[in-house]
């Protein structure tokens, strides 16, 4: 009797679970969709604001086109993947007159005030192909000049394009912010925009 129960009655009772399954999928069939229907819809900006895309520079509050970066190379030395290249700016080349004046001053034993090299980097190249998005550069930047971008729509068609000139990108961003009239639908046009 027990075997009869186990092999005959029980399976028939268990078939109810199949109907339960159908009920669940049927229920979800009638419910609204939950996927984001790109490109007709985009991800809400709240979610996007925490997205960690490629690394980008932060501009100075007063001069958004120039980065806060002081070319200290901390990010370059600490990056585990070696994807950052920072070139320091050189001091402006002195004219012949200035040079002569300095020489004279030095000979006279005076202290010369030579113009220092600007702290801003001359070049800031970032290779996205190598980046592991670990954030080490961001933490170790003494000037707080780096952050993850929210650029979820980043697209490149060649390897060369994956090397981003972050200075140019910053300039472009600053221009976009200062001239909002040119980009009325910044949200919608973001994907199409040519980055860097």
């Amino acid at each position: 009797m027990n075997t009869f129960r186990k092999h005959v009655i029980q399976p028939i009772i268990d078939c109810w679970s199949l109907i339960v399954g159908l009920k669940i999928t049927g229920k979800y069939f009638c419910k609204p969709l939950i996927t984001v229907h790109y490109p007709r819809e985009v991800i809400d900006s709240e979610n996007l604001s925490t997205y960690g895309g490629h690394v980008e520079l932060i501009g100075k509050p007063k001069d958004p086109a120039t980065p806060k970066c002081i070319s200290c190379m901390m990010c370059v030395t600490n990056c585990p993947s070696g994807c950052l290249t920072v070139v320091k700016s050189k001091a402006p080349k002195p004219t012949a007159d200035q040079e002569a004046a300095w020489k004279a001053a030095e000979e006279a034993g005076e202290k010369v005030e030579k113009p220092k090299a600007p702290k801003n980097p001359a070049k800031f190249i970032y290779d996205y192909t190598k980046c592991s998005l670990c954030g080490t550069c961001i933490e170790n930047c003494p000037a707080k000049s780096l952050r993850f971008s929210n650029n979820i729509y980043w697209v490149a068609t060649s390897r060369a394009e994956m090397k981003i000139d972050l200075l140019a990108r910053l300039k472009g961003q600053a221009a976009e912010v200062s001239a909002p009239a040119h980009a009325p639908k910044s949200e919608a046009s973001a994907p199409a925009e040519k980055e860097a």
Binding site: V20, T25, Y28, N47, G52, N78, P80, G135, E139
Partner: protein, 390 residues
């Protein structure tokens, strides 16, 4: 028989030839993988089939070997952390933790309480994503297409939560020696608090749709027995071991961090079959949620920040010595052993991947089953191939 069939290429590679040597009469040798839909990556299994019955099976590894251990010897101590996010895409935070824990042990760093609690919260959330991923993929292996979409619906919410304090969605590398990369914000805590009741409501649906399903139960019950004895022999840990009735969980057995403060159960099943492992994982999701809830309650009164003061720089130089640290990952015991010679780079990093040991048991468990069962057993081990090959 063409010339091609007699040529060298037709005889297969080293592994097939080696396998062919012990072939019985009337059997068929079949390569499952490296590109097979249910090996989840590039695992290859050579099986000898008698009809549809598996006579012998042998996993062939190495298709995804990325030399993580060797890379450890060339990176700085801090620079190796991102690698930890890539070892196991399912539960990367466990690996992060194991590595950071080992280095902290070596350097004698005390992690602040708040950082520990945050680590617990994030690792448990990550465990949920890991189990959801496994759950969906396993049911997909068994032939149902829909549950994985429902699982990913919930998993997506978890990823949105985890995205806030980590800035990543899959390969997290937000642990640092001494704490974490970033603190959580209030919004994140709110989202977690909202997620847990939501997920609790979803679990019965999963149960009705899948766990109770007649077909599924018949597919996985009493299939692929990996009992205690086998677990000991192969070194299986995690849900495989707990599915065999051993209540061994690193979080309880060798409590690390603040795990000794939480009240949670260690779900076990005595059946030792695929269904046992399945039920253990499903039950673990509920326990993870309990831990998260308790940790969130403790969070406001916790001491310290999200990282220790004067956290070591990535180019730190730990003292000469060695350390081993293990944590409970989604798949079992994750262990990292580091040796320092006092320089900026580790002398040796050894990773103990639970999946590797669990997979070893497959060949024995699958012998004598049908090929469809072999797929069910493979899935029930919750294999993440990058972790096995490292």
């Amino acid at each position: 028989m063409s010339a091609y069939q007699n040529s060298e290429q037709m005889k297969g590679d080293f592994y097939t030839q080696k396998f062919e040597a012990g072939k019985r009469d009337g059997t068929l040798i079949l390569n499952m993988g490296p590109q097979h839909p249910s090996t989840h990556g590039v695992l290859r299994i050579v099986v000898e089939l008698d009809g549809e019955y598996v006579v012998r099976a042998e996993p062939v590894l190495g298709y995804l070997h990325r030399m993580h251990e060797k890379m450890g010897e060339t990176q700085t101590w801090g620079g190796f952390i991102p690698n930890m996010g890539r070892v196991d895409y399912g539960h990367p935070m466990a690996w992060n933790w194991a590595y950071c824990g080992a280095v902290e042990k070596l350097m004698g760093i005390e992690v602040p309480e708040r950082a520990e609690l945050l680590r617990v919260i994030m690792t448990e959330l990550n465990r949920l994503t890991s189990h959801l991923l496994w759950w969906g993929a396993y049911i997909l292996d068994l032939g149902a297409f829909t549950p994985i979409m429902y699982a990913f619906d919930d998993r997506e919410m978890l990823l949105d939560i985890l995205q806030r304090p980590t800035a990543s969605r899959l390969t997290y590398s937000n642990f640092r020696v001494g704490g974490l990369q970033m603190d959580v914000d209030d919004k994140c805590i709110e989202m977690i608090k909202a997620f847990i009741p939501h997920f609790r409501k979803r679990l019965p649906m999963y149960k009705d749709l899948v766990t109770d399903n007649l077909i599924l139960r018949r597919r996985i019950e009493d299939i692929g027995i990996i009992d205690q004895d086998m677990c000991r022999r192969y070194g299986c840990t995690g849900p495989v071991l707990r599915g065999a009735g051993v209540a061994y969980d690193v979080r309880r057995a060798e409590p690390y961090s603040v795990y000794d403060r939480f009240d949670f159960e260690i779900p076990t099943q005595t059946s030792a079959c695929s269904a046992g492992r399945y039920l253990v994982r499903v039950a673990e999701m509920e326990q993870s949620m309990r831990i998260i809830e308790q940790a969130i309650e403790m969070l406001p009164s916790a001491q310290g920040g999200y990282i220790v003061d004067k956290a070591p720089k990535p180019a730190m130089k730990p003292p000469v010595g060695e350390a081993y640290f293990c944590v409970e990952g989604g798949r079992g015991k994750v262990g990292v052993y580091v040796v320092s010679d006092g320089s900026k780079t580790p002398y040796r990093v050894k990773l103990r991947a639970p999946g590797f040991s669990n997979l070893s048991a497959f060949a024995e468990a699958a012998t004598g089953t049908l090929i469809a069962d072999a797929v069910a057993i493979l899935g029930s081990l919750d294999l993440i191939i990058p972790e096995i090959d490292r």
